[in-house]
Symmetry: C2
Subunit: 408 residues, 2 copies
């Protein structure tokens, strides 16, 4: 008899963004005349940059001729792209990462979801709360948790991120083996200094733990003193893996490209406590279960690193950062406490007496604005909502004026 | 202490095609003047069809304008593509599959690798030998096998495919829960009739087992009486999942698109022996760990189903089938036994006294031709090699003449 993976039955409700989509669809059906403004899912809205479009078309053109056609590519990605990533995103910032430590993928969601496969089932996992739901759900599916009780999965070490600690996870009181961190943070928009990250690198070294560092939003950092990669921290190469994405950096949410950095120094342990190369394990996983990213997509991603590409992509991020600034100011005027909106496209708003799904429904029904209810990110998000800066300037201005009216 | 997934240590050597690539690279470095002809990995060589290129460019153009830009798409794929698949690949052949039973992905390798996650660890898995290595390796990684001994993993039910049984897997003598089948077969090129598939569907029904049916090569079938999908068999919707790919159908090996069919009738069982919807489980997995296929790639795949697309793509397959015919005839002239080459791009050749890696090295060193050693597909492949028809007509003719000379 074909039996199911029992751990799936522990998963709560459906996936957050699917849930939101259903409520929005229902509202739109009931109110077909309303122009809904989506500041929810964190999906970019601006067209791909001209340089990226050119690279994309060039790639497609190569596929049109037998002489330049590309079949299966190297599973970690084309050398030309990995070299550009290593140089621009790491070496130029003083982080000693080489092209062969980079694995190109179809996005950070897949990577953050899949990477946990490399670890034993009985490791202790520390996850911030609130957090991007995929970290948690994929560990539930893999059997690293008990049942869901009082809003949390047994077996997980939750790191509360609240106003009291400036929304920064604190070192756990118990030993943990795998630590998820995300800066600039999704959903709170909080950002870690080098000192803050060093604390985690030191902890990981002292405890033979591993950090999974999600830096999908690093392009939003404008302060040169803030780290844009964890490898700016000394020793991080031994204890940290970094997830990156072109989704928020260059508008690739519908184009699909990201990458993981797995440094060769990074070691984990087998049952005999012997060191094992995490790089080799991921290489094996990647080449067994993945067949590389579409060649024209890799050409498009490569164009992000061209001189024009860099300028155009920075301009897009500046545009979203300006939106974030407008949202922050409006939220402040309304008298809500918030964090984020600086070095980040997200504004995390304290609804005070409002439950986050109620706050979500209120904004949807009274202002036709979609946000993300904080509860979808964990128990600590229960009185918060996340507003995203990913939309047109016009829509952001309109949305904030509607919200002001609705809450007046 | 961060501990590794111990099951990875059971994996033998590196992944087959990576292994071959290394030998080829070494040979080319030592013999820079040699023009190597690759009839190994099964990678297409012909450019994407003009209709597909047009669809691809159109998709990229939409990404260039804010008004038509696409961000995150629906995780199972765009409706326009799923509708086209359902109609053309299934409904038009009398198989009652609807668009919402289709999940578009970045390729069948990922899908066949990932799908096993939905099942309990202690199910009994039946896998043909020889077989596409990813089926086996991904089950090893998931802990469904014991150690590797005498060329096989303990715990797996191997279904020998040999000359004696026409290279067709036979119903297992013991109860199995999950059955991998692949027709037209990779690597043997053998093909199943409706009667043959019905035997498996009946077995699955009688034993509450599930069939994972890999139909990546269905486009090579030219005999109208042969099934191109398992859903041509009555009752298959209750007990079979089908994997499909645009890689071999339309030359998408470097473009990356495939899909899975998970019929809504398909049920598996929880620990209490209650029925669970496999469709719902995969939907949850897909939306949690995957973020959809690149929009321009989906537009390119959609163009495969246009009137011009269908004609152009069929012409490409005909071209490869003609190559397969040439290879078959040459192999026959050389006096080797073989199977495949008809309704399939693969020819599976019995090397008789030759070990398959020796045969591989002989063809590489004496004819500068790359094939795939049968041993890489399992113990039953140890005296076989696989030759693929994916190359230009000129190269296929040249390769066969070189092989004839080398073996003279």
């Amino acid at each position: 008899m074909i039996k199911a993976n029992e751990h799936y039955s522990k998963l709560k409700a459906s996936y957050l963004f699917a849930d939101i989509a259903k409520r929005v669809e229902k509202y739109q059906l009931a109110n077909p005349e309303k122009q809904i403004i989506k500041l929810g899912i964190g999906d970019v809205t601006k067209a791909l940059a001209p340089a990226v479009i050119k690279g994309f078309h060039d790639g497609v053109n190569e596929m049109a001729d037998d002489a330049t056609f590309r079949g299966y590519g190297p599973s970690p990605g084309y050398e030309f792209l990995r070299q550009a990533i290593a140089k621009n995103d790491f070496q130029d910032r003083g982080a000693d990462i080489s092209a062969d430590e980079i694995f190109v993928s179809d996005g950070a969601k897949c990577d953050t979801g899949n990477f946990q496969e490399l670890f034993a089932t009985d490791i202790k996992v520390a996850i911030p709360d609130p957090v991007y739901p995929a970290y948690l759900d994929t560990n539930v599916m893999a059997g690293r948790t008990g049942e869901f009780e009082n809003g949390r999965y047994n077996g997980i070490v939750y790191m509360d991120c609240l106003k009291e600690n400036n929304f920064m996870p604190e070192l756990p009181n118990e030993d943990v083996d795998l630590i998820y961190l995300c800066f600039p943070n999704n959903p709170t928009g909080s950002i870690a200094t080098k000192q803050e990250l060093k604390k985690w690198v030191d902890y990981a070294k002292d405890n033979k733990a591993l950090i999974l560092f999600d830096a999908a939003y690093e392009a939003f950092i404008r302060d040169k003193n803030l780290p844009r990669t964890i490898y700016e921290i000394e020793g991080a190469k031994e204890v940290a893996v970094e997830f990156r994405s072109f989704s928020k950096t260059a508008g690739f949410t519908g184009t699909r490209c990201g990458f993981i950095v797995v440094p060769k120094e990074c070691m984990i342990f087998n049952a005999k406590n012997e060191k094992i190369s995490l790089h080799d394990m991921w290489d094996r996983r990647h080449s067994t279960k993945f067949n590389g990213v579409s060649y024209p997509v890799q050409k498009a991603a490569f164009a992000v690193y061209s001189d024009e590409g860099k300028i155009q992509v920075k301009k897009q991020i500046d545009y979203y950062l300006n939106n974030a600034d407008i949202i922050s100011k409006a939220v402040e005027e309304l008298g809500f406490d918030y964090v984020g909106g600086e070095h980040s496209p997200y504004i995390w708003i304290d609804g005070k007496d409002k439950n986050s799904w109620d706050f979500f429904d209120l904004l949807l029904n009274k202002a036709s604005v979609v946000c993300t209810p904080g509860a979808g990110f964990g128990r600590c998000g229960e009185q918060y909502i996340r507003i995203s800066a990913f939309n047109s300037l016009e829509n952001v201005i309109l949305a904030m004026s509607r919200i002001k009216e609705a809450l007046a």
